[in-house]
Amino acid sequence: MTASTAPPSASSSGPLLAIRGLSKAFLGVQALDGVDFTLRHGEIHALLGENGAGKSTLIKTLTGVYLRDGGTVALEGREIAPRGVEEAQRLHIGTVYQEVNLLPNLSVAENLFLGRQPMRWGLVDRGAMRRRARAVLQPYGLSIDVTAPLGRFSVATQQIVAIARAVDMSAKVLILDEPTASLDAQEVAVLFKVMRTLRSRGIGIVFVTHFLDQVYEVCDSITVLRNGRLVGERRTADLPRLDLVAMMLGRELEAAAHRIDLGPAEVDSRPPLASFKGFGKSRSVEPFDLDIRPGEVVALAGLLGSGRTETVRLVFGMDRADRGEATVDGQAVRLKGPRDAVRLGFGFCPEDRKKEGIVGELSVRENIILALQARQGWLKPIPRHRQEEIADRFIRLLDIRTPDAERPIQLLSGGNQQKALLARWLATEPRLLILDEPTRGIDVGAHAEIIRLIERLCADGMALLVVSSELEEIVAYSRRVVVLRDRRHVAELRGGEVSVERIVAAIASETPNAIASETPVTAGSGAEVRQ
C-alpha cells in the first residue's frame, strides 16, 4: 500500500483517459474502492491483479456494463458515464474479449459492418461492404476471404477482426481483455504487431493479461490492483519483475513468513504413486514432469492463469493431455476422462465449488456419497443405512456444521460446503486427492481447519496435490512446491527451499529454470511443441 500513485510521466496533451477515485460496490462488497487509472495517447497499459482485484469491474464500468457508484471518468478531459456497450462504443471506447464476441455464422465483412452496413438505395451495398472490409483489414496484414463465415478462421484471426471492428468504429481507447489466453506463440506475435501499430496511431490500449512475459514484451506502463484498490502505477521499464509480483501478491518480501528449517532437501527414494513425464496439452499448459509420492503434499503455486488449474485438470483427466505419458504404480495409464482417474484412486475438489462441485438442491448426504456411488456404478445403489453411516461419519470427522445430513447443501456456509466436497472424495478413500483452491471464499476459522485436515490426511499416507494462491498456506503444509508461470512449470522447490520469498522469486524469474533446483522442468518430449 506504500506504492506511489503518481503518473510516471506527464504527457503534453493530457491523458487520453483519466479515472479518478472510481468506486463500485455489489451488495455491500466493495469491488472497486477509490481506484485511479490513467491511459495516455499511444500507450499500451497493462492492467494487472489477482482474483478479486477488480480488473473486470473496472473494465465493465468503463464499457457501460456497470454504472459506477463514485469517482470520475474523463475521456480527453470530458466527463463520461456510458450506460451500455453501444454508448461506450459511441464514446470511442472499444472492447475485445477473450471469448471473441463476434458472430461465427456471419461473414467477416458482415461482422465488421453489422449495424453500420454501407447502404445504397435503401439496401445494403454488399459490394461496397466487401471492398471496405478488405480495406479495413489490410493494415492488419489480413488478406482473407471476407465473404467466408468468421467461424472458419482461427481464434487469432477472429480476434484481429474484432479489434479491426472496434478500431474502425473510431475507438480511441481499446480494451483487450485477456486476448492472448487461447493463442499460440505465433498468433500472439501477430497480435502484438497489431497492438504496436495501433499504438503508433495514437490509440490507447488497456491490456489485461495473466502472462508476465507479455506484459514486459509489449506494455509501456503497468497498473496493479488488489482487492479493489489501486496498488500503484509504474513504467514497465522501471519495475523489476520481482517488485511487480510482490505488488500483485501484496506482500513486502522482507516480512515474508518464517518457516522452520526442515533441513536440506532430502531426496525421496520411495517410488512415486503417480508420475507424469512430458505431460501437457497445447494451448493449455506446456509439457511438465511431475512425481507425486504417497503421504506427500505437492503444491502448485503461481499467479492466476499461470497454468495451475490446467495442470490439475490434466492430471485428473478432465482435459485430455495431447502429449507425454502418465504412470501410476509404475504402470503406464491413459487418462481419458475423470472416470479413469477415479478408477485409479484419484479425487478432485474443483476451484469453483458452486459450478463444478456441489449439487445445491441435493442433501449433504447425497452430495457426500456422490463420488462413491459413481465409482460403484449407478446400478449398484449404496444402501440407505450405509449412506447415512458414511455421511454421519464425515460430518463428525470434518466437523461439518449442519443440523442434519438431509439438509440441502446450498443452505450451508461456504466453508462447510467445501468440507462436504472434501468428504465426498474422502469417502472414496482416494490415494491421490487434488484440491484446487481449497480455502477460497471460506472464513478464517474454517480455513485453519481445512489446513489441519490436509496435514492429517497426508499423515495417513494419502498423496495431495494442492493448488493455492495463499503462499503462506502452501509454505505451511507443503514439502514440495512446483512454481508455474505463463502456463509453464518453471521451478520445483523442495524441503528447506520452500519459502514465500523463493516462490515469489520463481514466479518473477525472467527465464525458465533460473531459480529451479536440481530438477529443472525440461521440455522432454514436448520440445517440438512450439516453433
Binding site: L102, L103, N105, R126, P149, F153
Partner: protein, 328 residues
C-alpha cells in the same frame, strides 16, 4: 471457391433432390413434365410457401413459431365471417386479417423478448389461442361466395411458352423474392442472422434485439395471415380447423431447405425448394393413383431424417477441418 461451395452445399443438395425427383416423376408419368404440373405445384403449395418464408426468418433468428397453422385457420374464419356474415367487401377484410395476424405475431414476439420466455412455449400458447379464437367466431365451415373471390381465382399471368401462373402462385413467388432481398440486402436481415448466431454477441455488437424479435414474429404472423387469405381463395371457405399441422409442414420445408433449427444458418431459397419437394411428393402420389396419400407423410419423414443427418454430418466435417487451424 471451396468456401462458397461449403456454404451452399445444403442448398445445392436440396435443389438436386428436387431436380432428380422431378426427372424420376417425368420418366414414370408421360404427362408429368408439363407447365401445367409446374403451375399446379406452385398454386397448390402457395400458402405453405408463404408461411414457410416467415418460418424461415423466425428459425434463422434462433426461434420457432408454432402458431402459424392456427393463424391461417383463424384468418380464413375471420374472412368468412366478415364477408359472409358481416357483409364486408373482401379488400378491407383482407386488410383487417393481415393487421390482426401481424399484430398477433408481434405480440408473441414482445412476450418472448420482454419475459425472456422460450419461443416454443409462447407460440404454442399462441397456437391454442388462435385456434380457439377461430372456434369462437364460428365452428362451421363457412363458404365464401363473394364475386371478387371468383375474379381473383380467375386471375392469372400467362406466358407465351405455356406457363399460367395463378394469383396464389404469383403471391408466393413475390414473397420469396422480397424475402431474399430482406434477408441479404437489409440491416434487418443481417440482424436476424446475428441474433440466430449468438444472441449475446449480437446484443454486444449493437443489434436491437427487442425490436428485431418483435419484428420477426410480426412478419411471421403477417405472412401466415397472407397465407390464410390465399388458403381461403384456394378453398373458397373459412373453417376453424383449416391448415391443422401446417406449422409442422413449414418447419419441415425449412429444415429440408437447409436451414439449421438452431438458427443463424440457412437461406430463404432453400425453404422454397423444400416446399416444392413436399409438393412434388404429393403430386407423384396423386399421379400414381394407387398409393395411399399417407405415403406422402412417410416419404417426407424419411427425407427430413436424411436431411438432418446430412446437416449434422456437414457440421462434423467442418468442425474437424476448421477446429485447430494452427495445428498444421
Amino acid at each position: 471457391m471451396t468456401g462458397a461451395l461449403q456454404r451452399f452445399l445444403p442448398l445445392i443438395v436440396t435443389t438436386a433432390v428436387l431436380v432428380v425427383g422431378f426427372l424420376i416423376c417425368a420418366t414414370q408419368f408421360p404427362n408429368f413434365a408439363s407447365w401445367r404440373v409446374v403451375a399446379n405445384l406452385l398454386t397448390d403449395n402457395a400458402f405453405l410457401g408463404i408461411t414457410a418464408v416467415g418460418m424461415t426468418f423466425v428459425i434463422l433468428s434462433g426461434g420457432i413459431d408454432l402458431s402459424v397453422g392456427a393463424v391461417i385457420g383463424f384468418t380464413t374464419v375471420l374472412l368468412a365471417v366478415l364477408i359472409e356474415h358481416g357483409g364486408w367487401h373482401p379488400v378491407p377484410a383482407f386488410a383487417v386479417a393481415l393487421i390482426a395476424a401481424g399484430g398477433f405475431g408481434a405480440a408473441m414476439g414482445g412476450v418472448i423478448h420482454v419475459f425472456q420466455m422460450p419461443p416454443f412455449i409462447v407460440t404454442l400458447a399462441g397456437m391454442f389461442i388462435a385456434r380457439g379464437l377461430g372456434f369462437v367466431l364460428t365452428t362451421d365451415s363457412v363458404p365464401i361466395n363473394h364475386p371478387l373471390y371468383g375474379e381473383l381465382n380467375d386471375m392469372a399471368l400467362r406466358f407465351d411458352f405455356g406457363l399460367k401462373l395463378s394469383l396464389p402462385a404469383l403471391l408466393m413467388l413475390g414473397v420469396v423474392v422480397a424475402a431474399v432481398v430482406l434477408a441479404h440486402w437489409t440491416r434487418f436481415g443481417a440482424n436476424l442472422y446475428a441474433l440466430g448466431g449468438n444472441r449475446q454477441s449480437a446484443e454486444l455488437m449493437g443489434v436491437p434485439v427487442g425490436r428485431t424479435t418483435v419484428a420477426v414474429y410480426g412478419l411471421s404472423g403477417l405472412l401466415a395471415g397472407l397465407a390464410g387469405i390465399v388458403f381461403s381463395l384456394y378453398t373458397g371457405a373459412g373453417y376453424s380447423l383449416a391448415a391443422t399441422g401446417v406449422e409442422l409442414d413449414t418447419i419441415t420445408a425449412v429444415v429440408i431447405g437447409g436451414t439449421q433449427l438452431t438458427g443463424g444458418y440457412g437461406y430463404v431459397v432453400g425453404t422454397f425448394v423444400g416446399v416444392l419437394i413436399q409438393g412434388l411428393i404429393q403430386t407423384y402420389i396423386t399421379f400414381d393413383g394407387t398409393l395411399s396419400s399417407w405415403w406422402t407423410k412417410i416419404a417426407i419423414g424419411v427425407l427430413l431424417f436424411v436431411f438432418i443427418l446430412l446437416q449434422k454430418g456437414l457440421l462434423v466435417v467442418w468442425a474437424g477441418r476448421g477446429g485447430e487451424p494452427a495445428e498444421a
